[in-house]
Symmetry: C2
Subunit: 338 residues, 2 copies
């Protein structure tokens, strides 16, 4: 089944990308258009076209499939797919400024190339263009818009909690999971259900698809957290143990810190409110996170979430082949190298 | 006539503010709600209520009056008035981060109190809440929403141009005016017409009201620019000659630089790409801006814009007393101490 995920991604990208280009082309300000196009991987900083650019576009795929599983034409969901991908990129542009991240998809981030202010503004232009795309999409767009706006508030809230956690003392695992729910899972839940909303599906189907996307999003984030502790730089494009180095309180790290084990207590001493100060401490902290069960917990929880996601949409009468493709894309999102 | 402006402002504020509080209260994240409430002048940084807070709310007044001049009930325009004021405050929150402004309305700016990231996020929450407020307002809101979104793109574009101008060489007066059109006049044009749009007024009336607001906005900005050269710190809450000190290329300063006069050429030498370096240079630059005719030009242009604004709405059959109140508010916006 997993083998079909890239096929669905490719097929849907072929439909969504032209629509997305039309929406971005309609941003009147040339500088905002340039930065948006750069963020989407379409152009170099000077505006010249980049071949084969763009991300994997997993969220647009979820959106189009979420319409198809209800029996609607995928086209019904294209404006919503465009809007979701624009909102995703708006949040990446802004979050990279706030988190001072300098590289994304093996290129310098937007603020590094164009300056902080311009990156913030281009994020605003993309957010606004997302709303405009739905407004221009008749009844399907009108049905989808409130769903998208609620999600934007969740995203903003998740990033705000993330920033607050950076300076918080005594962080609990529930705080981290609530943050990740807003920051990652909410948009995935929206992506995996807004196509059905656009198509006018029943509340029960929308709820199931939303729960599917939410759990896929949580699993995706937990895998990302695992990569932040153990990850291979060649795969992640980040330094190894990047979250350990940064002193970040991600879910596996907090699970280890809160584990009430000898390794957890040693980790608390090592990690007391500051990043480890030497390579030896980074290596030791990484080992203690494993010894305290943080990695195992996160890995098991990611698997549990993936299974819960699939259970929401399997054997409930959704249309084939779309539902198999939806599950395959969900697996593809979660199953990364770790 | 001018005497009636504060009356209209007070009357309309009494209608709009409860609606605005309801929209802000509906922002689910408590930290985003706190920062939004602080930005709106309602609370102190710790969330305790501030008596008599809030700005003059001139934009909501324009919006409600723009419905009333068409014969519609002012209530029709309240959600649009809320949305315009939220968008205004979204842009203030973001612009203060980008411009590193530390004080507004005699209080520390949002990012100074809550941090840059949180201020950016709260701006996003307010922008999203503005769209949500219109979506919740039935047909009137649906009519108004595209108008608001176009304006947000203009605002973003104006701020982007402003940042680009900071580092531009060879700035022309037209560049500055185009920037000010986006940064200030576009939202005033929207404020002064979106109530009529919500009420379903004819395209001709909407066009006239929009032109009125646009010219009021340009006049307002030119007066602001004049205050930035000559202003009394007690009135403006800024240091005297603040734009001269900052080396800003505002409209009167660029008009002076481009005046092809002896004073203009001396100013060019003094102002070559950098702020004046001493108090004596600030005083000399301020004098040269006056001698080169920059202040007179801006003052005359502000007056011309105000008269053009009034000509758009006078004697074209709009309802009394609303149209007289609209003109009075317009005069009130422009006639500040300078």
């Amino acid at each position: 089944m997993t083998a079909r995920a890239p096929e669905a991604l490719t097929r849907i990208r072929g439909v969504v990308e032209p629509a997305m280009r039309a929406v971005v082309d309609a941003i009147a300000d040339p500088h905002m258009r340039l930065i948006s196009s750069y963020q989407l991987g379409w152009v170099a900083p000077d505006g010249s076209a980049v071949a084969g650019g763009g991300g994997k576009a997993i969220r647009p795929a979820l959106t189009v499939l979420s319409a198809e599983v209800t029996g609607a034409a995928g086209e019904t969901a294209v404006p919503a797919a465009v809007a979701v991908e624009l909102v995703h990129n708006f949040s990446l542009l802004h979050d990279d400024v706030m988190d001072r991240d300098v590289e994304r998809r093996h290129r310098p981030t937007g603020w590094v190339v164009f300056g902080e202010g311009q990156a913030i503004l281009a994020g605003n232009a993309m957010l606004t263009a997302a709303v405009q795309a739905l407004l221009d999409a008749g009844d399907a767009g009108a049905r989808a818009l409130p769903h998208l706006l609620d999600t934007i508030q969740d995203l903003v809230s998740g990033q705000s909690r993330d920033l607050l956690l950076e300076s918080a003392e005594d962080v609990q695992l529930d705080d981290v999971l609530a943050m990740e729910a807003g920051k990652t899972a909410a948009l995935m839940a929206c992506a995996a259900s807004i196509g059905a909303v656009a198509a006018g599906a029943s509340a029960d189907i929308v709820r199931r698809l939303s729960a599917f996307g939410f759990d896929i999003g949580m699993a995706f984030q937990l895998v990302d957290d695992l990569l932040g502790v153990t990850g291979d730089p060649a795969v992640t494009g980040k330094s190894s143990s990047s979250d350990v180095r940064a002193g970040k309180r991600s879910a596996p790290i907090v699970a280890a810190l809160r584990s009430d084990s000898a390794a957890g207590r040693r980790l608390q001493d090592l990690f007391a409110g500051k990043p480890p100060s030497s390579e030896a401490d980074v290596a030791l902290a990484t080992e203690l996170i494993a010894d305290a069960g943080g990695l195992e917990w996160a890995s098991r929880e990611a698997q549990r979430r993936l299974e819960a996601a699939i259970a929401q949409v399997a054997d409930v009468g959704l249309r084939e082949p779309a539902v198999s493709e939806l599950v395959a894309v969900g697996r593809f999102i979660v199953d990364r190298d770790y």
